[in-house]
């Protein structure tokens, strides 16, 4: 199995915030903490685009590199998780992360900054799978229940795809080739150009009307 990844298709995202709501509800995330959010560019003008952003579970995660207490770890599936019992809430990871994924609860006394919280790819944390302790600290462990992240699974337009990186890349490639638009973007071929796991359409997609570059 390849690494777990998210892809958000900006052509499909309708800024409904369903992914944000699903995440909040699934993990009972406290007020003020957003593990996932929808970012909109060119809001209100023609060409407006939205994408859903959370922890991207980087292969070479900057948060892991800067953590002074080494509370991060990576699972066999490439999911970046952390141990809240070790985290000291210093916030270095928040400065290092290019996606703004690390969140800090601020509802304590004197503006207390609590332990860091972030998207877990619905994979829980270092407690027993499916235990109450795991739920209380990290939320549901859907991955060990044989499910994919709630945000991706409930996305109404399937803009947000989550799962095995090879499979979601295949799905995205089939989609872009079928719509005949998008593959002309520089670097697209390098990222999505080659089929890997047969995760695309079982039948041949329609040929793209525009050429595939790089």
């Amino acid at each position: 199995m390849a690494r777990m990844k998210f892809i958000c298709d900006a052509e499909r995202c309708i800024e409904c915030n369903g992914c944000v709501t699903a995440c909040k509800q699934e993990h009972e995330v406290p007020w003020g903490v957003n593990r996932r959010r929808v970012v909109t560019l060119n809001d209100g003008v023609p060409g407006e685009r939205s994408i859903s952003v959370a922890c991207m579970h980087c292969s070479d995660a900057p948060c892991m590199a800067v953590c002074p207490v080494d509370c991060f770890y990576r699972t066999d599936e490439g999911v970046v998780l952390h141990d809240k019992d070790v985290c000291i809430g210093c916030g270095y990871c928040s400065y290092a992360c290019p996606f703004g994924a690390p969140q800090f609860p601020t509802n304590g006394n004197f503006g207390l900054r609590g332990k860091m919280d972030k998207c877990t790819f619905c994979a829980g944390g270092p407690e027993d799978n499916g235990s109450q302790a795991e739920f209380d600290k990290y939320g549901r462990n859907r991955l060990s229940e044989g499910k994919l992240p709630a945000c991706a699974e409930m996305c109404s337009t399937k803009a947000l795809l989550g799962g095995d990186g090879d499979i979601v890349a295949d799905i995205f490639r089939t989609r872009v080739l079928s719509r005949g638009k998008g593959s002309e973007v520089w670097g697209w071929g390098t990222a999505y150009g080659k089929p890997s796991q047969g995760g695309g359409a079982p039948t041949e997609p329609k040929p793209a009307t525009t050429g595939v570059k790089s």
């Binding site: 270092p126 462990n141 991955l143 399937k158 989609r175």
Partner: protein, 79 residues
């Protein structure tokens, strides 16, 4: 003279024994816990229908099937 020697010996003994009450100051204290594999046993009552935790191959197959539910091109063909 005898009294002061006893005091000195007693004090030295107390200082030496004080070391026994020291807590070890090693970096082990804040070490992160090991995590269970995703496919290992799960006590949650919400395990996906038809999937039995504990088998890595079954778990991988389950996630592959689940991922294809996001692919409407495959779903259209399956109808």
């Amino acid at each position: 003279m005898k009294g002061s020697v006893a005091w000195i010996v007693g004090g030295a003994l107390a200082l030496a024994l004080a070391g026994c009450g020291e807590k070890p100051q090693v970096l082990e204290a804040g070490k992160k816990k090991p995590d269970a594999k995703a496919w290992e046993a799960n006590s949650s009552p919400y395990v996906a229908t038809g999937y039995k935790p504990g088998d890595q191959a079954a778990w991988e197959q389950q996630l592959r099937t689940r991922a294809q539910a996001q692919n409407e091109y495959a779903r259209d063909v399956a109808k």
